[in-house]
Amino acid sequence: MMVKKVLHSLTLNGEEVQVATAAGATLLQTLREDLRILSSKRGCNQGVCGACTVLVDGTPVRACLTLTARCEGHAVQTMEGMDGDRVMATLQRHMVQSGGVQCGFCTGGVLISARDLLEADPTPSREAVKTALSGNICRCTGYRTIVDAVCGAAEELSQ
Amino acid sequence: MKIEGEFEVEAPRSEVWDRIRDPQVMGACIPGCEAVEQVDDMAYRANISVKVGPIKARFNLLVEVLEERPEHTILSRTSGEEGTRASVVTSDNVVRLCDTDSGGTRVDYAADVSVTGRLGKFGLGIFRKKADQLAAQFVENFRARLGVTA
């Protein structure tokens, strides 16, 4: 097995980067192993758990199911690039306060999904929040405090 | 995973026995079987390709007769792996022959198949269906080989 590396150009958290990564690598592999962007987690590598969720051109996708080659010329955003995002900052604060953070392994993916929901629907019902987060598995909280946090953030942001 | 079945052929038991004990005949009847190489009287090797949708595998198998009661029963064991050992397959097989009232032969077969490794992580249900289909295909080929039709 010869390791062939391919050079890709993409925008990562607002900066142009060139990265040499294994041919056919997933975005998750490239972010973690080649770029040391570690907020995106490998929880299942099957797209089920949601811990690797990142934004590509502003849309949440699974980094583990996205080929880096497909990100050529596109904008990738991870939690590392969320500084200064008002919606994210509000969500983060509410997650801390509500107890929605336990082991924290799912938390980044949860927050990226929640932010996407609030962008699309600033005043979601609790049911809508649960539906939007149904692709992010949390094994610690039972979801209750996470839903509380997202609803609390939505309320604060919509005032 | 257990695969079981039976079929009847309008051929005498001794003839059926000879065919079942002939690796070349078996190789020709097993779906996806590419090359059969006799090791000795009690064993042969075969390459078998299987495909389930986009998933393809090619196994190098060794079939060993563990015990036989001529013209009645064969206990055999199939074992093998994919080229780079990504999956391992083993199967314990029993074949029993008996005479039918019409002078033909009834063949009862049972196999306990285990696939581990990359293919072993795949859903159980589809494999069972595929295995049943392969068995049915084998029976059809075998009948054709004996010159009888269903």
């Binding site: 080659a69 497909r70 996407d116 149904s134 | 986009p54 998933i55 990359r118 249900g125 269906k129």
Partner: protein, 281 residues
């Protein structure tokens, strides 16, 4: 090690698929990359279809037929306002696939090509009498959805062929719905049911998912049921015919026996949603 190729036209994509023995077409990747990550498939090349303009978009043609480009993502299908009435079932099915994030990735063409018997599109498309547009080394062809699935995960798609679009007959004013039984939200179906009523409310079209290699559809049975939707005996007979067509698996989502038990119950459940029996009945 997989090389990724990104052709700009359907012809180029097919040429690449033909050129490389172990190449596979890559649509949204939601299933194929997951399979590759698990080493279930080990393609030498992935021919990415994401830069081919022809495969994108949902259009309504002059005669009302709706064309869904193969690379249309589930989220776009789930939100498509053109899919009304008899085609609403497809929107409902799209919205129940996996979860919001995966629906941003997966495509209808990819899902149909993969032909997972427990996935949501095939029964919905069978209920809609969809047609597949297929391109391959021998040229282009159309294929009825009813002739598409050959066997477990085996379809009529030949070597080097890809689905370019899914064609749907013009929607008519009639209710349709999709229901799936699954262990948890976002799981593949244990069993599912896509149903559309005839515009006059006297008949139905129904397709059952996850109970055989492809969706179960019994058009003769549907004809026999016309005008008798609320006749319990006729309905039971119809459901019985669907059960007879079924060939379900035993797997971790449920036994074959359970799936057979679910078929008539799903039919009754979805029918009561679409055509509630009148109080006086």
């Amino acid at each position: 090690m997989t090389e990724v190729l990104s052709p700009l036209t359907v012809d180029d994509a097919i040429a690449l698929l033909v050129e490389h023995d172990e190449a596979m077409p890559l649509a949204g990747g939601a299933t194929l990359i997951a399979m590759r990550n698990a080493s279930l498939v080990e393609p030498s090349h992935l021919v990415s279809l994401d830069r081919i303009a022809e495969l994108r978009g949902i259009d309504r043609t002059a005669d009302g037929t709706i064309r869904i480009g193969a690379m249309t993502r589930h989220c776009d299908t789930a939100a498509c306002a053109e899919l009304t009435g008899s085609l609403h079932v497809l929107r409902r099915a799209a919205g129940m696939i996996a979860n919001r994030v995966v629906r941003n990735m997966g495509t209808m063409g990819g899902a149909v090509a993969n032909a997972d018997p427990a996935a949501d599109y095939l029964p919905a498309l069978a209920c809609c009498d969809a047609t597949l547009e297929i391109a391959g080394p021998e040229g282009r062809r159309s294929l009825s959805i009813h002739d598409y699935v050959d066997d477990w995960y085996e379809t009529a798609l030949g070597e080097g062929e890809i689905i370019t679009a899914i064609m749907l007959p013009a929607p008519v004013e009639a209710p349709s719905a999709y229901r799936k039984i699954a262990r948890v939200s976002g799981d593949y179906a244990t069993a599912s049911c896509a149903m559309a009523l005839d515009p006059d409310g006297q008949g139905l079209r129904v397709a059952i998912g996850a109970c055989g290699p492809g969706p179960l559809r019994d058009r003769a049975g549907e004809d026999a049921l016309r005008g008798k939707l609320h006749d319990p005996a006729a309905l039971a007979e119809f459901a019985g015919r669907l059960v007879a067509l079924a060939d379900p698996v035993d797997d971790v989502r449920g036994s074959a026996e359970y799936r057979l038990r679910l078929i008539p119950r799903l039919v009754a459940s979805v029918l009561s949603e679409l055509a509630p029996q009148k109080e006086t009945a």
